[in-house]
Amino acid sequence: MARFNNKRKPFVKPIAKKKLTTVDHVTGDKIPWSFVFSRGRLPGPLRQLKADLRKLLNPFTALNLKEKRRNTIRDFLNISGPMGVTHFLILSKTPTAPYLRVANTPQGSTLTFKIEEYSLAVDIKKSQKHPRCPKELFKNPPTIVLSGFVGEKHLTLASAMFRHIFPSIDANTVKLSSCQRILLLHYNKDTKLIDFRHYSIRLEPVGVSRRIRKFVQKHQVPDLRNLQDVSDFVTKAGYGSESEGDEEAETVTLASDLGRVNRASSKSAIKLQEIGPRMTLRLIKVEEGLCAGTVLFSEYDYGDGKKKDDNHEDAENEEDDGKDENEEEGSEDEEEGGEDMEED
């Protein structure tokens, strides 16, 4: 008997759990994490849009989230609890238009947006002469600027939802170097469209000629071939930088030095450059639950909102079954319904 008692249980080393940073170190605020995934099969450009959105939500998102066709929303929901994921961004597609749903987990409200137009980050990049993408750009979360979201209840809800997707900023402790990107959401009252733009923030010292700025930024010997004297390099006015003078409103005094050129003592101008994706959204539905529940708001005022909702779910289930044809049929039906509603 004693022997048996002596037998000790083998020591099992507890598996070290990788701790997710769900709480900000400095301020102690809860950090929102997000999942971006799709329902149903997306065509190429929309898949790219999904990737772009994930990049935008960096670093507090699952950048390489793998999804399978048989995954249901419930699967994501189950995993979101332990992972500390607070928001879902769900992309879907019907023949009418692509849709974006923004949902709060685990039971929060769901906003359904119709994506009227979108341009990918690649498209934006192609259209620019000098696209800018420094390494540090996506290492910090973007700040969000909301404009025009006043008045009706669903708008305040939408603004609150978007605001809480990104971690809050504490003015007392924030480092300016971490503010590299900005997400602008502008609600247009007349068209009822929401403009979704993503910009990178660049700071330039005011009153310094371009030549000197470049000289300081880069460690390169300047080209002095055409100059008579070294002093010419400083005194001779360069060509660009004429646009600086007019924007008094766009200059700021920095709290601390930022980089090599932007000193706290001097003024800096803020330059924004677009980095995709660009979207034009229309808020069409607000639901109480996670992709379910009572409809709090609907752009198309139809009588039985509940019924339509059920149809949507059915279509999704079909997609989960993995039957291509059925899926398409289902989405077509959906489209017809959608068009009907638009006509109403």
Partner: protein, 303 residues
Amino acid sequence: MAEETHLAEAVKRPNKRHIGKTKGSKARKKARKMPHSADGNRAMKPRKIDPKMKKLYRKRAREYDSEDDEKAGPLRNDDGSSSGDEAEGNDTRKADNGFSDGEEDDEIQPGITKLAEGCNAFRLAFRSIIKKTVSDDVLGPVLSGNKKLIAEKLAEEEAERKVKGEAKDKQLVIEKGHVAKPAYGPHEKFLINLATKGVVKLFNAVSKAQNAQKGLDPSRTKDAKVIRKRRKEAFFSELGKTSASAKAQMSKGAVASEGPAWPPLRDNYMLTNSNLKDWDKVRERVGKDDIGRMSEDSGSDDD
């Protein structure tokens, strides 16, 4: 094995011949093959092509006859038809003569027309062809008569176009809403200005908040205390700006710090928190954590 069978046949054949002569037509037919088979296997080969040749011969013979109809008359016709029918039969019955019929006629061989004399049928045919007016068709004059071919081709093209159209439609559905070449109009400029304003506000607020605590290290307890004191002052100064009612509510909130749902309290707290999330917005929502911190702050008020 093959040789053996040949031998066997060779042995049998003489018998057959005898039987054939003695018995009915059936045996005769078999006997017809006789002379060739006797020559050997080589003789069998041309025999095989016979059906084709037979047709050709018949055709030629008919043509020849039709010419002759116009010239000579029905008598020749009988003769020609008989020669045509028995073109292959000649060899067997009159084994010695062969095509002697044609050779004997001498003037015109069956299947060969003498162009020197002129062929009326050809002339007529050519005339009819030349007289034909040909409409400009897709397929050209050669196949102009073939309506079926044209219809087929048109149908094919139609189908092809349809398939292409479907592919185009599919592509359109896929690309729906996608703007590959983004526009940079006045609206974009307006949006950039808007965003810039936001960023300026943010940076100004940050510098305002951080300039106040310049030279103080929050990690040191002494400085931390100073910072906390300053924040408190800022808090109360903000309170002074708001209406008296809000102040009263604030004092209530400080007493009942446990009550989480107290909207006015939250409002006031937002002012001091300087949570830049909402710098351009109306303050409205604060998480529970903030409220917790709020209670701490109010506790420190008493100290």
